[in-house]
Amino acid sequence: MREFKLSRRLLLAGLIGLAGTKAQAQQMDITRATAFVDKAGQDLVNAINDPRLNQAQRRDKVAGILRSAIDIEGTGRFILGRHVRQASPAELQDYLKLFDEIIIRNLSARFGEYRGVRFSLGRSQQRTEEDALVSTLVERPNNPAFTLDWRVAEINGQPRVVDVIAEGTSLRLTTRSEYAAVIQRNGGRVASLLDAMRGQIAQLAAREGG
């Protein structure tokens, strides 16, 4: 079974190589996806609960872990959706840079508050051919537990998080609606979204004090 899978993957890789296209998402192995989420989650929990770190250090550490675990470019493109094609190359480049900063800042700020957090793997299930959904349970002192699902895809041969789903609400779907609304309400201009994102980063930076 394993050999078959391997050879199929090789065959697939060969075919893709022949076709000369760049494949981003390949089939995601559920065991690998689970191990990946487990590792990334434990790293996050350790950083959040590390008493030797001050708040700024903790935020940097969490940001570093998130940056290596999330497929920021792919997720950013998914969220921009149909507007990717409207954007000029320079705009797209700007957008991906701004998106990286916003997503990392927002998630680090949110996870950074979870002192004393514990995290365990729930039931895991394969969803589609392309990615796996790994379910986890997040517990905090004096707070009820909640489920957090991680959508994991194989990006250039490595498992990467492409979405987090808290109690049924997908971050990338919600953000896609948000960004689409900003563009649509400003005459369909991607530049208006970039302005709004710059404004938000300035606000977030002011609140964090740097």
């Binding site: 149909r82 927002n106 949110r110 349970l137 004096n142 707070n143 009820p144 537990a145 909640f146 489920t147 808290a166 109690e167 049924g168 609400t169 997908s170 779907l173 919600t174 953000t175 896609r176 609606s177 948000e178 960004y179 689409a180 609304a181 900003v182 649509q184 309400r185 369909g188 979204l193 709004a196 994102m197 938000q200 609140r207």
Partner: protein, 265 residues
Amino acid sequence: MNPPLSRIFGPAALVLLLLAGCATRPPADDPEALQEFRENNDPFEPANRALFEVNEAIDKAVLQPIAEAYRDLLPKPVRSGIRNVLGNLRTPTILIGDLLQGNMTRARETTGRFIVNSTIGIGGIVDVGRRYDVHGHSEDMGQTFAVWGMGEGFYMFVPLLGPTTARDLTGFAIDVYTNPQSLIGQGYALDAWNYTRIGMTVVDTREALLEPFDMVRKTSLDPYATLRSAYRQRRSFEILNKDGPGGAVAPAGGVGFGQSVMEPQ
């Protein structure tokens, strides 16, 4: 649900609706924009956005401060007790939902919890069922319609009620109508009781949403659009009965804010 308020907001909503008009449909030669328009299914978007702003103003001036004071002044066990009582009082609505959806296991759970919590749990103050791992769940007529295969209809934002759809708002009206507490008798005491219950439900629900609301206001470039998307996703999650382990019975039913109502913090 609250006659004086609906008397104020009903006409106001109508005026705003007429003033704001309808959303502009994208041109037919842009199929992707057209598809997005259909998926949003928000034909009264300008009016809805105006009502959303009205709600934001009321919320920041009145509801949020009350919810914060409520959390600061009352200790957690008291707030837990209040939430449990309100959840227990929602039993008729939940049971009707379980039965109409043909889910006998959940109907038995709902009935068992009501009996145990109302007696041993002293009128619903203590969620005894939960301690025996029989967790509460929410149902409402909107969810039942969905299980029956009805589409959600267009999106709406109603001040004080929040995000909803044509289907869910219809369901909500039926839930209010079929609630035994709004049927039995008349009189000053009963009116006072109903107003108290409704008022407490609003305060308790808003308290549960303090953090999520804060987060959306802080991080979203378009809170209206974020809420619309989160509401739809959360509703489909509720309709499929996929609630997580930390969930409690939401006193106001599904609040659809992208999270379940949990024990107070």
